[in-house]
């Protein structure tokens, strides 16, 4: 069998057979320990510093940010953003409990559909599991209430993140993921809108994913 052949060839190179049981146990313990390697200073900030750095980095990477006192301010923030960008007020919203609580009835002009994005949806509203201050990164693990297509298909992605969920470094986000159980099927770390520099080394936004990324930071609890 190929597995045995490849493992055998590696072991011949390492000039040994399978590792003894005690060494295997040591490696298993190393793996399960989730030891953190060097975390840069910018990935170790306090709560206020984290939110400020996160917002600064989202903007540096060509995203935009709005800070809202609570989720009830969402409909107004979304409609005014879309109006400013000259985008039709129609959004597909991930069926996440936090997003289902948003009082969209306040804005009857805004067309809202809960579910999975299709190629025809121009704007999505997604829920972020966490933000990472270190590089202004959103953490979007797949789940029934957080479809992956909503991160990718629409031209404009609006993402809600709670200020308390903005963590210092990637490792914090993976600890938080593990607290929730098994590794999700798909975990996207998203830093800014889609882009390509394949044509003459010149950066253009909106290659295959969203051309615009707008992040709503919710300061208080909803």
């Amino acid at each position: 069998m190929n597995r045995d052949a490849i493992i055998g060839a590696i072991q011949r190179g390492l000039k040994r057979g399978s590792l003894p049981v005690d060494q295997q146990a040591m490696l298993a313990a190393r793996t399960a320990l989730h030891h953190r390697h060097l975390i840069p200073a910018r990935g170790q900030l306090d709560a206020a510093g984290r939110v400020a750095l996160f917002a600064q980095y989202v903007e540096r990477e060509f995203g935009t940010v709005a800070r809202l006192p609570n989720i009830a301010a969402g409909p107004e923030a979304i409609t005014s953003y879309l109006a400013k960008q000259n985008i039709a007020p129609s959004i597909v919203v991930s069926p996440h409990p936090d997003l289902e609580q948003i009082p969209f009835r306040d804005k009857p002009m805004l067309q809202v559909r809960y579910g999975v994005a299709t190629a025809h949806d121009a704007v999505s509203l997604q829920h972020a599991f966490a933000g990472v201050a270190e590089t202004g990164t959103l953490v979007l693990p797949s789940a029934p209430e957080r479809p992956v297509k909503n991160n990718l298909l629409p031209d404009t992605a609006i993402v809600v993140v709670q200020a308390k969920d903005i963590l210092a470094c990637y490792e914090d986000a993976f600890d938080k993921l593990r607290d929730q159980g098994a590794m999700p099927r798909n975990v996207m770390l998203v830093t800014g809108p889609s882009r390509s520099a394949d044509i003459e080394q010149t950066l253009e936004l909106g290659a295959h994913g969203p051309r615009r990324l707008h992040v709503l930071i919710i300061d208080g609890e909803s």
Binding site: L19, L27, A32, H34, L38, S142, V148, T191, I199, E200
Partner: protein, 473 residues
């Protein structure tokens, strides 16, 4: 596309004479280096993180058999299937089998150098399946039937007119009168065309930058989002990757990610870094139903325990080629290899055999820049030197060169004679060339004087002057 490096010398000359390529190189070269340096300067811990990265990869490779086993078991536990492939042929056959079982007509592809290495596209086409590259750079190359010239900027050698020309030639359904006012129009057209392909594809093939043993996850890094669409929309996701990409856990992967994008594009983090683990879960509203990993060896296990083991640390960032004066002069196609530049000059002789690729380890001035920017500190010049030794041992150079090298070595091992000889030559040439200051022609130096003059020495050799200086101090 399977390639061969035998014609390197001729191809290098062609590359240097290609005005379009030289324009592209002149545009890209300073940018790559500048962006990386800026990213490094923004992160005071960068140097320390390189050492961390070296440690992680060395640990993984020293226990590669163990971690690959753990990884494969974890993939199977999450409902995926691992296809172990010793050779490129095994890997091609494994992908075809998966595509056939899925009844696939069209497959979309995220950017993957391993699929280039095994010549997957040509093979699928020959078997009636249409592969469509979705990375913008790979897409244009597929239209033009060219191999990539760079591992992260595959089409940077093309100029805008060539993009427009190829799009007009291939996108026949669109109006021939349309105008591309700016680069963005080219991008928008590709996005529109590929969107339809994404939605119609039966199988999506991606590569992997890292594999995580503990969770059985594969990790891709892209800026366009094409890799994510490739692996999210079709019913079947196939990861084509190689054995040296495995690391123990997520923390190890995250540490490597901190040096990857900074070394590659000079971004702090690429736009999309995605961890995939198995197929669609209960209640999921999207995602592939099947998840396969085609795990390729193709000679890599043979590097373990040899002087080339360090090469297995490579995370394919392309910093070495971005800073290489030879790559910068001849471009990527000259190498005739899947992997160009310094890392390719070490890897290609392994993949193609030193007989076919013996020119590549010589395509270096040994300036050492590649090693100095490598995020995992691979001693690239040293590894190229190992290949040069093997080339010499196997008598792969022309007879005149072997004799020349042998003669030089004979003198070099006899310092007194060597110094006398060089001194005589320096003084002699100095006298002969005193009038004009240079030589337009010199016996045995035709390779030099054909393209430029040889300056006449002005006095004694360095060594003689140094000795003189030390005596009079």
């Amino acid at each position: 596309m399977l390639q061969s490096s035998e014609a390197f010398v001729g191809n290098a000359a062609k590359g240097m004479a290609d005005a379009g390529l030289q324009r592209a190189l002149a545009r890209a070269k300073p940018q790559f280096a500048k962006k990386r340096q800026a990213a490094v300067d923004r992160l005071p811990e960068f140097e320390a993180l390189r050492d961390v990265a070296v440690g992680i990869k060395n640990h993984a490779i020293a226990n590669l058999d163990y971690y690959l086993g753990v990884y494969a078991d974890a993939v199977e536990r999450s409902g995926g299937v691992v296809h172990w492939c010793s050779t490129a042929e095994d890997a091609r056959a494994a992908v075809l089998k998966i595509c056939r079982a899925a009844g696939a007509k069209t497959v979309t592809k995220g950017k993957s150098m391993v699929t280039e290495e095994i010549g997957l596209n040509d093979y699928l086409e020959a078997n009636g399946i249409a592969p469509v590259e979705t990375d913008l750079g790979e897409y244009i190359l597929q239209l033009r039937r060219e191999p990539p010239s760079h591992i992260i900027g595959p089409a940077f050698h093309l100029n805008r007119e060539q993009w427009e020309e190829s799009f007009r030639e291939h996108h026949k359904a669109l109006s021939p009168e349309r105008v591309f006012h700016e680069r963005r129009d080219i991008l928008t057209e590709a996005r529109g065309i590929l969107r339809e392909t994404f939605l119609a594809a039966d199988v999506g093939i991606t590569g992997a930058n890292f594999l995580i043993a503990e969770t059985g996850s594969s990790v891709i890094v892209t800026n366009e989002g094409n890799g994510d669409l490739t692996q999210t929309l079709p019913r079947v996701h196939v990861v084509v990757t190689s054995i040296e990409k495995v690391v123990p856990n997520a923390e190890d992967c995250l540490a490597l990610l901190r040096v990857l994008a900074r070394s590659a594009t000079g971004q702090d983090m690429s736009v999309y870094t995605t961890f995939s683990t198995g197929g669609r879960r209960l209640g999921d509203l999207d995602g592939p139903e099947e998840y396969h990993v085609v795990l390729l060896d193709n000679g890599r296990s043979g590097m373990v325990g040899t002087q080339f083991q360090d090469m297995l640390r490579c995370i394919r960032c392309a910093a070495c080629m971005n800073h290489c004066p030879v790559y910068g002069a001849v471009g990527g196609h000259a190498y005739g290899a899947t992997y160009p530049g310094p890392m390719g000059s070490v890897l290609s002789p392994m993949l193609q055999g030193i007989e076919a690729a013996h020119h590549l380890p010589n395509a270096s001035t040994f300036c050492g820049k590649c090693e100095s920017v490598c995020p995992v500190k691979i001693p690239l010049p040293n590894l190229m030197r190992h290949w040069r030794e093997r080339e010499f041992e196997r008598h792969l150079q022309p007879v005149s060169m072997r004799y020349g090298l042998g003669l030089w070595a004979w003198f070099a091992k006899r310092p007194l004679l060597y110094r006398m000889g060089t001194r005589a030559a320096a003084v002699g040439l100095g006298v002969l060339g005193r009038k004009r200051g240079f030589f337009g022609k010199l016996p045995l130096a035709g390779g030099w004087t054909a393209g430029r003059d040889f300056p006449a020495p002005e006095g004694d050799t360095f060594f003689a002057k140094y000795q003189n200086y030390m005596r009079n101090k």
